[in-house]
Amino acid sequence: MSESASSLTALRVAGVSKTYGVSRALADVSFDILRGRVHALLGENGAGKSTLVKIITGIVEADSGQIFVGSKAVHFRTPIEARIAGIAAVYQDPKLFAHLDVAENIFMGAYPTTLAGTVDRKTMYERAESALRQLGLALDPRSLIAGLSVAELQFVEIARALVADLQLLILDEPTSALTPAESGRLFKIIRTLRDKGKSVLLITHRLEEVEEIADDITVLRDGRHVATRPASEINRTALVQMMVGRPIETLFARRQSAGLGKEILRVEKLGLLGKFAEVSFSLRAGEIVGMAGLVGAGRSEIAQSLFGIRPPSTGRVYLNGRRVIPRDPNQMLRLGLAYLPEDRDSQGLILPESIVDNVTLPIVGRLARFGVLNRASERQIATSAIATYDVKATSVDQPVSSLSGGNRQKVAFAKWLATKPTALILDEPTHGIDIGSKAQVHRITIDLADSGLGVLLISSDLPELLAISDRILVIAEGRLVSEFSREEATQEKVMMAATQDVRGLAQ
């Protein structure tokens, strides 16, 4: 690295890798963030953006690779050390202390102190107030965090970054909670920082924002670095291609469409206050309907609403031709709808319990005679289930916690299918499981559809959705924004639809 190059570089990421268990979050990622530039970091869900931010700020330790600030290799152990070096990050969800006041949150971990070692409140409130004013926020630094709006919380986080002697500001999806006017204010601040020679690393899903403000763009995909280019050299189509353009894994060939049966599930103008609204779609026997969208778009909320976990506030649901009002999961299970939650370890399975106890949990009522469980029939069901779904286990008494991610997922399948549903909602069924198990999960899903079940498949894995869905619904910011048939759907089209700015539509 020549001297002139290092003086232009604010931060250099060199060969950074990180693995969580079996899944690879980052693989040998290298790029430079230049001084006085706004650098956009793009990628699909799970591409490794947030992990990279956590590594830069010292929350997570990289397995290998280095971070350079200027020409100096650094190794931050805490975000405070990063902050001292001039790097501050604003994370996606505000991480603040509700019981403390605004100024204390802004300075937590790095309080200005007096000679006696006490917190210098006078200085603290003055500096907090000037930072808030810089952001155009009329907020008393003495007011408590509890009671502020989400946008205000976000600005408090940004103020926290600004009071540091900043060289690089990292913003992880800062606008997802902001109104257009508030986003505009934030962009003005970003430009001011840039004009002062500071750098900004901006993570966003909104390509409009990238076009509006970014000088350079880095794209990550599956934890790998795809490209770093000046924004002027890439158009939107090229960008989307880079984000999704992996070869469709040959492991799962596209499914041949089976004959569709009668309508099993119809949803009309479904809404849940503050989460999603006006969602209408239908699901037929033998059909797999994919649901695409970004994290936080409201897909899981729609599923949980249908399953009665969070009953919908508006709209109508028809199951097997009958109008139903989802109230609780028990009722929906009885009516023939099953839901495999995204977070199977905390929501879908009881880890310390045995396979047999997990599999039969939703149907213990049916297996009991006069309130006493029939253990023999329990074991029989579990034994046939592990054979059907090819669960690698020594016996049905083995605790679920001792199984691998893929096998746990299969147990979760067996568990919900023991209820003999007519419609099944799968929420990210292949998230975090190895590629072999993934293919098996796809196989099971297709077999289920072929046997006459209607399947709603929520997934952030676009190749997977495209491979096994008959239709794809795209959810963005709580709205159903597009629907593609299997023939029309491409990764680019779905990604475009999912990343569009629908704020105008929603308001």
Binding site: G58, A98, V119, D140, L144
Partner: protein, 346 residues
């Protein structure tokens, strides 16, 4: 002229008082109002209540509990609990009294001994909770038994009677400064010292932060385990000191000294507005809570109401205060995560 100048200064920050903020700030004034109400009721019921002499008695009774309530409050702030406070007091009281009975010429180093013992016991709790990752209730329930059990074994059923204790120790608690018991002054001093520590030192603020949002602490470079260890250490230190004061006050130190104080200290802290879910409350509030309990105790005795009612009132005030706590906590959580999509999609 001045009016004009005021108009020209940019309007600084609208005062915002959302419900949660209001509720959080209201708590200490709530305790004061409650104290006033209780005092008023007793004054109307018995003429013996509202006298200087009785007020002094109440303050003396509240004094030691206020220190222990402050200790409890520090731990509660970190979203943990310390039910071993009574056992730590008993342990320290017995050991220091025993030491004093063997060394008649012992001086102020007795205080140091009490502090060291208390600190050690507190650190054991802290290590179990912070580094051993044992749930705080279970860990301190266990040490509550352990510390008390050790005291029993050490004592062999003996008690240390007042004639074996050094005179200065017994007299010190009866001293008066301008008519105010020295014990009360010392306790106020200690509570204020702790309050200043929590309010004005960065580490004090960290104690609040850890209890307020433990998941966020990593983003601020706060080491949650150290903070929790410190909180328990402080709690032990204060309990050690309180144990010594209590020994001096009662004169005869038995192995059951201060049993049940975990309940009183918890009640005092919770009544004083310290949240059992962490992050909120003050030691001043907790000390005022101790005063409320002492006032109720005193009034009931004057009115000749049986001891049972004391426990009844203690229990129901914990339930009431905890209910308020849960209610406020729910509102705060709602305001923090709530309407992320709300304002847009709705």
């Amino acid at each position: 002229m001045s009016l004009l100048a005021e108009k020209n200064t940019p309007t600084v920050a609208v005062q915002r008082r959302g419900f949660s903020e209001f509720a959080l700030r209201l708590r200490v004034s709530g305790v004061l109002a409650f104290l006033f109400l209780v005092g008023l009721i007793f004054s109307l019921l018995t003429p013996q209540f509202f006298t200087v002499q009785n007020a002094t008695a109440i303050a003396s009774n509240a004094a030691i509990l206020s220190i222990v309530a402050a200790a409890q409050a520090i731990v509660l702030l970190t979203r943990n609990v310390d039910v071993s406070v009574g056992s730590m007091m008993g342990f320290t009281a017995y050991l220091t009294a025993d030491y004093a009975s063997r060394h008649p010429n012992v001086g102020a180093e007795l205080v140091l001994l009490a502090l060291v013992i208390g600190l050690g016991l507190g650190m054991i709790n802290g290590l179990l909770v912070a580094y051993g990752r044992v749930s705080s209730l279970i860990a301190t329930l266990a040490t509550m038994s352990l510390y008390r059990g050790f005291t029993y074994m050490y004592a062999h059923g003996q008690e240390v009677t007042s004639n074996k204790l050094p005179k200065w120790m017994l007299h010190s608690v009866d001293l008066r400064v301008w008519g105010i018991p020295a014990l009360v002054i010392v306790c106020i001093f200690v509570v204020v010292l702790v309050a200043i520590f929590l309010r004005h030192y960065p580490i004090g603020r960290r104690i609040y932060a850890v209890g307020s949002n433990p998941l966020a602490t990593v983003f601020y470079g706060l080491r949650i385990q150290r903070v929790v260890l410190l909180a328990y250490g402080l709690s032990g230190l204060l309990c050690g000191f309180a144990g010594l004061l209590y020994a001096a006050r009662v004169g005869t130190v038995t192995v059951i000294l201060a049993s049940g104080w975990e309940m009183s200290s918890l009640a005092a802290a919770v009544i004083g507005g310290v949240s059992v879910t962490g992050g909120s409350g003050t030691v001043i509030g907790a000390a005022l809570g101790a005063l409320v309990l002492a006032t109720i105790d005193n009034g009931l005795v004057l009115l000749g109401i049986p001891e049972f009612w004391r426990m009844f009132i203690q229990g129901s005030s914990i339930v009431a205060a905890a209910a308020v706590d849960v209610f406020i906590g729910a509102r705060i959580r709602k305001s923090l995560q709530g309407q992320r999509f709300g304002r847009r999609a709705a």
